[in-house]
């Protein structure tokens, strides 16, 4: 009778997460060892007696657990698994609630990413909402921090993330039905990614190759996953209903799954991780990170294996709308002496 089905599912999923977190915490407290995650998870299952293992070395513990859980048969099954669809549904519900604030044309969208390739570092950046200018931090030869403001002249037809206002306008015209949205994002060249390709690694090389000249690609789950991820990563403001539809569209792509072992993002935060395995020559793995309490987008990671394996990850640690380049939300406008405006040479 009048069952709020969505609520029931989401609450069930949240409870499953809580249950898992509790079990993991209990296992950590009991073990006191830095044992492998896989072993810890078996450890955390109900029905596996924990106290007996205190004081044993990690390797021994894992072996004994296998024996014990084997003996207990079906009792050691995880209580109930939360599905990737439930997580993405919760993310969509929260995303739909906003907040929805479109910046003023001359306001700046501030983003601070932590980017890890060989090493990690903060990459704060500012984009003026009308898309005409952008800014970044740099050091002078005298080791002084300066804000570099440059004109922004995207070449060729617009692409998602090039200019905040244009991106938002295109996004707001997308259908909110997740199937229709996925179809549009999969085929519209505006959403083409550097990687759209058979190879996820191309994504990383963004900007080095003129992809618009490539022949159209078949719509593969790889390309779909990459395109949605690219929107979440590069669009600095997304209308809430579209944001919600993006998560629901992600849930429609075959191959996404929830990572059970906790992973940390580039900024060292643990949260919800959704994985996607690329069926490409590099056996790439993509990971999408979500905030564990609000499900907001937090960043992604891409691992490529093979001859030259590499890993790159991005964590969005701060965003906001400010009035001046170099300003952080709530902070003062930077001193004009530390702002360097670079104009390109006039061609006319």
């Amino acid at each position: 009778m009048n069952t709020p089905v969505g609520f029931k599912q989401r609450l069930g999923a949240e409870l499953a997460l809580l249950e898992r977190a509790r079990a993991e915490r209990a296992a950590e407290e009991t073990s006191g060892h830095d044992m492998p995650v896989a072993a810890r998870r078996v450890f955390a299952r109900p029905g596996v007696r924990r106290t007996a293992f205190v004081g044993l070395a990690a390797g021994t513990v894992a072996a004994i657990i296998v024996a014990t859980s084997g003996g207990q048969g079906a009792q050691t099954q995880p209580v109930h698994a939360m599905t990737v669809a439930q997580v993405l549904d919760a993310a969509a519900v929260n995303a739909a609630k906003g907040p929805d604030k479109e910046p003023g044309l001359h306001q700046w969208v501030y983003t601070d990413n932590v980017v890890c390739t060989d090493d990690c570092g903060h990459r704060p950046s500012w984009e003026r909402y009308d898309g005409v200018k952008r800014a970044s931090l740099s050091k002078t030869s005298g080791n002084r921090n300066v804000v570099f403001v440059t004109d922004n002249h995207p070449q060729g037809p617009g692409k998602v993330g090039d200019q905040p206002r244009e991106t938002r306008e295109v996004l707001s015209r997308l259908p909110t039905d997740p199937r229709k949205l996925l179809a549009r994002v999969s085929t519209d060249p505006f959403f083409a990614t550097p990687g759209d390709p058979r190879s996820a690694s191309m994504y990383y090389l963004g900007g080095l190759h003129n992809f618009s000249a490539d022949p159209p690609l078949a719509v593969t789950p790889e390309a779909q996953f990459t395109r949605i991820l690219n929107v979440l990563q590069t669009a600095s403001t997304i209308p809430p209903q579209i944001n919600a539809a993006l998560y629901r569209a992600l849930a429609l792509i075959p191959g996404t799954k929830l990572v059970s072992a906790p992973m940390r993002d580039a900024a060292g935060r643990s949260g919800i991780t959704i994985a996607f395995d690329f069926q490409d020559q590099f056996r790439s793995h993509g990971y999408l990170f979500l905030d564990p309490s609000t499900y907001a987008y937090r960043g992604y990671r891409l691992d490529r294996h093979g001859d030259s394996s590499f890993s790159s990850s991005f964590a969005r640690v701060a965003t906001g709308i400010v009035d001046h380049p170099g300003q952080v939300p709530g902070g003062p406008a930077p001193d004009s002496s530390s702002v360097v405006v670079v104009h390109p040479p006039k061609t006319r």
Partner: protein
Amino acid sequence: MQIPTLEPERSRTPFGEVYEAHFDAILGFVTRRTADRHLAADLTADVFVAALEAFEGYDFRRGTHLVWLYGIARNTVASHARNAAREREAVAALSGRRLLDEQDVQRFEERIDAEREARDLLARHAVLSEPLRAVIDLVAVDGLTTKEAAKVLRISQATARVRLHRARAALRAGRTTPSGTFNTPLAEVTR
């Protein structure tokens, strides 16, 4: 003679199954006692979070899962009534209202509307003292047996029967409205 064990007899049913089986009953319990869909969502979430916290120590000899959950729901709703916001904030592990989408909100409203009669009933016998009302609520409104109500309230069956009897007598004696205006459940218990 059997020596009693100190270990509680653990439930072998996974928590997820308990949730699936009794979600509707607990939602009903909560919506009969609140008129605000957001609050109802929060309290329903609170009940199951509290149940999850206590699940390991749950001893099924104390009653069925449903009876156990009703006990938790009673405490949750009562503690909300006593000291609403502050207590909730201190214990809230997750926000139920955050999980609602538009369709859910609609369903909650339908649900709350459907439970309106039961809520009016609760209000009408608010003249009873709390111990008497607690028993008659569980029996007349939530449809529990006297035995189950006793377990929820952690009182003996005899006490529950006595309180139920006294509640009925008090309602009959204090009845000022014509009997025909009472709706069925209360009419039944006061007969």
